[in-house]
Amino acid sequence: MTGKMINLTIDETPIQVPEGTRLIHAAEKLGINIPRLCYHPNLSLEGACRVCVVQVKGFNHFLTACSQEVWEGMDVQTNSPEIRQARRDIVELLLDNHPMDCQTCDRDGNCELQKQAYRLGVRERLFAGERKHYPVEDSSQSVVRTPEKCILCGRCVRVCSEVQGVSNLSQQGRGFHTVVGPANLSNMDDSVCIQCGQCVAVCPTAAFLEKDHTERVWEVLAMPRDKKHVVVQIAPAIRATMGEAFGLPMGTPVTGKIVTALRRMGFDVVFDTNFGADLTIVEEANEFLNRMQTGENLPLLTSCSPGWVSFMERFYPEMIPHASTCKSPMQMLSALIKTFYAKKKNLDPKDIYVVGIMPCVAKKFEAARPEHAMEDGTPYTDAVLTTRELAWMIKSYGIDFVNLPDGEFDRPLGISSGAADIFGATGGVMEAALRTAAVKLTGEELGPLVFNEVRGVTGLKEATLRINGMDVNIAVSNGLTNAKHILDAVKEGGKQYHLIELMACPGGCIMGGGQPYPPLDHDPLDPETARLRAKALYDIDDKKQLRRSHENPAIEHLYEEFLGEVNGEKAHHLLHTHYEASMPRGIR
């Protein structure tokens, strides 16, 4: 793009925009929002839905505003009667091949197709005919595919390949019989899907959804207290996003309200996954220091993000020795609940039901992994609800969330440092680890607290920190295409990295596949959304007294009372895990 400015008219209003601007953005400058479905600013141009057509003088056919760059003297009509009818007809054509079940659909009220149909005024159905029929595909632990609801906008296909580098989804068949799915339309469970749920996040309709765990949670909540002791834990990232589901401005922290809501719903105990996060840092920092000392298996790769872990097992199995063996915060906490806490309360672990509230759909998959179960097969985590699912349950219960008083987590597994809160944003795990590692490396009690090098929602950040006379090369990546870049660089050799934080979702957990759908005038994956959500977490951290994980007194107490040494036998057994190469079928 050169610095040249282009003059054009949109709906008779002259406007000047830089050369290379696309019409859809030029119109936005005039405050005109052109309707769209397949277009997404972070993904490549698809030009498939055709909803954004506009009339350009001199052309017999209509041009799509998403793809057309402006030119000098262009004369554009965005709302002529012809255009209005064309857009209405296109959306109607989409509706004609779509199940008419809005009232019972998960996305009712939050569906982009529904929104466009309303906005464009589809009031009658002229063309209805044959409709496609596909079964719901729910083989995956995390993601449910409902091809009947798919409008073939291709966003999931693009996010899966362009942002996540997985390329599991593609369009198959042709014409009216086109359907999106894994290669050869195999089950999601048999595919290379890493369960990150970004397809769910970008889908304009309900063609991709998380696997529902709400029913099983309603069920245990209704059971007598002496039969099931229902324990819930909430992930760091959800406190920055839950408010959005209730109309609060983006980036409003609502930790206390969530705790109160959960208690009202009947959860017996409300713990904080943050505790698990602090514990993770203590174990992981220890692991890091050991590796720094021996020089083995560097760089250390973080392992909190189950989507990233799946990705590594499928696409980079050779990096498994580099991955931290630490369980994710959720799994550490769940393991403690069913051992330490059960013992303390004198409960049979089988009578405890652990629910995780997570920003992530891959956590549902993680919870079901056989490594995360007790010896008798009882899973440490029994159910995982996404932010969206819990939001719906709160609404369903009839709780006036916005006006709830703040509640406090139960003790002892509810105490946490600010380092744990920032786990939810990209760079947060790194910063938390550095806070502890810096202290351990230097031996000074008051090490640095803020590492601006790793803050911000860009996809790939690198820095070299000078700690105790050593150069520590670190990298932070989110979105797995970025992970590919950094891992390929590691494999190539050259620069020696020491610590790399990897998160599957673009922006980190705050942009996880289970987070509330943005309001209909926002794009999913919008970096501004990520920035606001991250800010909420950093604000919480900023206000806390306790800023370093290893300073968490409850953690210190836990080691004394139960775990023994850091990375000792018991800690290793309960807090660490292992990974296995899991290549797609047909590849050994």
Partner: protein
């Protein structure tokens, strides 16, 4: 550099002459057998086998079999030519093993051609001379009188009858270079002599000397061999052929498609040598620009302009693609050229590649064309071995290579962006343009994509000049266009005519008129995405712009003739079912819109239509036309829109009267037995699959309409025309 290329070409031609001389086939009787997928399917392989057996057992050594490509005379294949030196070349139609035996024993051994088997009955074997008068668009048009008529009169005066000398009005031979004014060219067969006449005295001279004394007239003789002459020498007697102007198909049916030597003998690679010899890619682009050659794949974009744009890209790694993913039902122009003249396509492509300075070229040919693939592969290998392709092309220092990629049978892959994706190994779906492939194409590099026929024209343009090529066509587009003539026309096949030729001329002069001499109803051009040109517009000149104006397209060149026996609603439904089936599924209007339009058409043809359906149909058609992503979707509604425009009353008839005049829509017809014509033979009753026909022997039969499934079996089997379709 210039010298090395010239020397290379000289050495190449010298070597070819030597090789062909060494074969010693000159002066022998030549049995020419067409060999392309269509000819082979019609039995050409058997025919060739039978001829070899006959030659072997006869022990004669003065007979050779010459395999050629396909001339494009589909309904009469396999075609066999027998060329006895000094005699009129004779072509036989629909030859099979029995006919081979007859040809061999009668024509070859006894010198008595088989009159009943001669192609289109075109020549009388007794005729010794044939005078073809060039009556192309320009030639002789300024002459105050028709030289042909003068010649006819003078022959009559001299007492020479039609049984001895045959006179034919033919199309241009390409000799005039567009400046013949009051001259006319006359080709004398089988002498292969071309004369140029410009006065009555000249004509008189021809009669006196050439006809009466069998002497040549050196003063009138034209020594340069024009582009079409070879074709007219061989095929000039057949009206299907002698009204055509074969530029792209100049070698089809003349040379062996697998022999590099023959291609070189007929001037092959001269154009490439010329282009390389100029050492100036821009010169090539300028010639092509001058030629006003427009893309023959259907888009009609100026080829020279496309090449110019590609050549101006800052990126130096550039590609050239030959689009041979011909998918229109009933269209086989590209296959014909790939199979019959593969070297021309290779040469055309190399010239194009040189013009845009591409490093690599790809053939994208649909996998359903195995013979075309084999012949292109053969041509590539032979060219490589001869130093024409690969490193240091013809000693010029420029390197270029070709590769074949196969299309897996998706119609949409003929669309350039989808084609590129397919080569890249992605799902063959169109992409948003711009960026156009010339800017960012295959693997993100500048890529020019041209159709097979476009490339076939290139060597001719270089050899005969861009101006010459431009003079053949219309003001806006130069040259000729190959059409696949089919439908209700007497002579079907590949037809190449100058752009600007009236449609009527193609159908009636070349195609021989409508089958069964029924009235012409419409001409459908451009394949499934084309539109209907009603009979009242049959005077229209074929060219990109007039066709588009009339609501159709040139497309890749399908031309289907429709008679009163065709139902426009039914045919629109047929085409739409094709585009619906082949829609890639990417954009909404095409994927969903074609399905809904098809549903409406099905409703109408099954007698359930309502008048409001027409509005909905039109609304969807316009939507699809205006908002689809690629050309396929934008053109898909053309059959509907043009039939609604010109034949709306037929739709109304289907909807209001529930009647299909052409009796094609099964739901709107029924079968009845005419009691007077029925003799009670029981054949219909015995053939009825649902046993709904009753009647005793020798008594008129009756169809039970309630049980009848309208399969039409009774109609087919009745020998007394007693079953009527009502």
């Amino acid at each position: 550099m210039t010298n090395t290329v010239t020397e290379f070409y000289k050495a190449l031609t010298a070597k070819v002459d030597e090789t062909l001389k060494a074969q010693g086939d000159y002066g022998k009787i030549v049995i020419q057998i067409g060999s392309a997928t269509c000819e082979n399917a019609a039995g050409a392989v058997d025919v060739m086998d039978e001829f070899s057996k006959h030659i072997q057992s006869s022990g004669r050594e003065d007979i050779v079999i010459h395999r050629t490509g396909c001339t494009g005379r589909c309904s009469k294949e396999p075609i066999v030519g027998v060329h006895v030196p000094g005699k009129m070349p004779v072509k036989y139609e629909r030859v099979n093993r029995d006919v081979v035996h007859k040809i061999f024993t009668s024509h070859i051994q006894k010198g008595l051609p088989l009159a009943e088997q001669i192609l289109d009955g075109s020549i009388d074997p007794d005729q010794q001379l044939e005078f073809l008068f060039c009556e192309g668009r320009r030639c002789g048009v300024d002459a105050p009188v028709s030289y042909r008529e003068i010649f006819e009169r003078k022959l009559k005066e001299a007492g020479v009858g039609e049984d001895k000398v045959r006179i034919t009005a033919a199309s241009c031979f390409g000799a005039c270079q567009g400046q013949c004014g009051s001259r006319a060219h006359v080709l004398v067969r089988p002498l292969r002599t071309l004369y140029s006449v410009s006065s009555e005295a000249d004509v008189d001279l021809l009669v006196q000397k050439q006809v009466l004394k069998h002497e040549e007239v050196p003063s009138l003789k034209v020594t340069d061999k024009p582009i079409y002459q070879e074709f007219f020498d061989l095929y000039g007697d057949v009206s299907f052929f002698n009204r055509q102007s074969r530029v792209a198909m100049r070698n089809s049916g003349i040379l062996d498609p697998e022999s590099l030597d023959e291609y070189v003998k007929f001037g092959g690679f001269k154009a490439l040598a010329t282009s390389l010899g100029k050492n100036d890619p821009e010169w090539v682009i300028n010639e092509v620009l001058k030629a006003k050659l427009r893309g023959r794949g259907g888009g009609g974009f100026l080829t020279g302009k496309k090449w110019q744009m590609a050549s101006q890209q800052p990126e130096k790694t550039r590609y050239l693609i030959c689009n041979g993913d011909e998918g229109d039902p009933g269209a086989f122009m590209d296959r014909g050229m790939l199979e019959s003249d593969p070297y021309s396509i290779v040469e055309g492509m190399m010239i194009g590649a040189y013009a845009i300075q591409a490093c690599k070229g790809f053939y994208y040919i649909r996998a359903e064309y195995p013979l075309a693939i084999k012949r292109i592969q053969n041509a590539i290998e032979k060219c490589r071995a001869a130093g024409i392709l690969g490193d240091n092309v013809m000693g010029s220092g420029w390197s270029f290579d070709l590769e074949i990629r196969l299309g897996a049978g998706a119609f949409v892959c003929g669309e350039e962006t989808a084609l590129i994706r397919s080569i890249e190994g992605e799902r063959g779906q169109p992409k948003v343009r711009p960026p156009y492939p010339v800017v960012r194409g295959l693997w993100g590099k500048p890529t020019a994509i041209n159709n097979v026929e476009t490339f076939a024209n290139i060597p001719a343009i270089i050899n005969y000049g861009g101006d010459w090529f431009a003079s053949i066509g219309t003001e806006a587009s130069g040259g000729t266009k190959v059409f696949a003539l089919a439908g209700k026309v007497k002579h079907t096949g590949l037809v190449e005519v100058p752009l600007g030729t009236p449609l009527k001329k193609v159908v009636f002069d070349i195609g021989g008129g409508v089958q069964d001499d029924l009235p012409l109803k419409a001409i459908q051009t451009g394949g499934p995405a084309g539109g209907f040109i009603p009979a009242k517009w049959a005077d229209m000149e074929v060219d990109f712009d007039p066709l588009a104006k009339a609501g159709s397209i040139m497309g890749s060149g399908g031309m289907i003739v429709l008679s009163d026996e065709d139902c426009m609603v039914d045919i629109s439904k047929f085409y739409l079912s094709f585009t619906q089936e082949e829609s890639c599924g990417k954009c909404t209007p095409c994927r969903e819109g074609t399905t809904r339009m098809l549903e409406i058409l099905e409703k109408i043809t099954s007698g359930k239509g309502e008048l409001s359906d027409l509005d909905r149909l039109e609304r969807l058609a316009r939507l699809c036309q205006q908002t689809s992503l690629c050309g396929l979707g934008r053109a898909a509604p053309n059959p509907i829109l043009s039939s609604l425009k010109h034949f709306r009353e037929e739709y109304i008839e289907h909807i209001v009267e529930k009647r299909c005049k052409a009796k094609k829509c099964v739901a709107l017809i029924h079968y009845e037995i005419n009691a007077e014509a029925c003799i009670g033979c029981t054949v219909c009753a015995r053939n009825c699959p649902v046993e709904c026909i009753s009647g005793s022997r020798k008594e008129p039969h009756v169809i039970n309409q309630e049980r009848c499934i309208k399969c039409g079996q009774c109609f087919e089997v009745c020998r007394f025309d007693a079953v009527e379709r009502v």
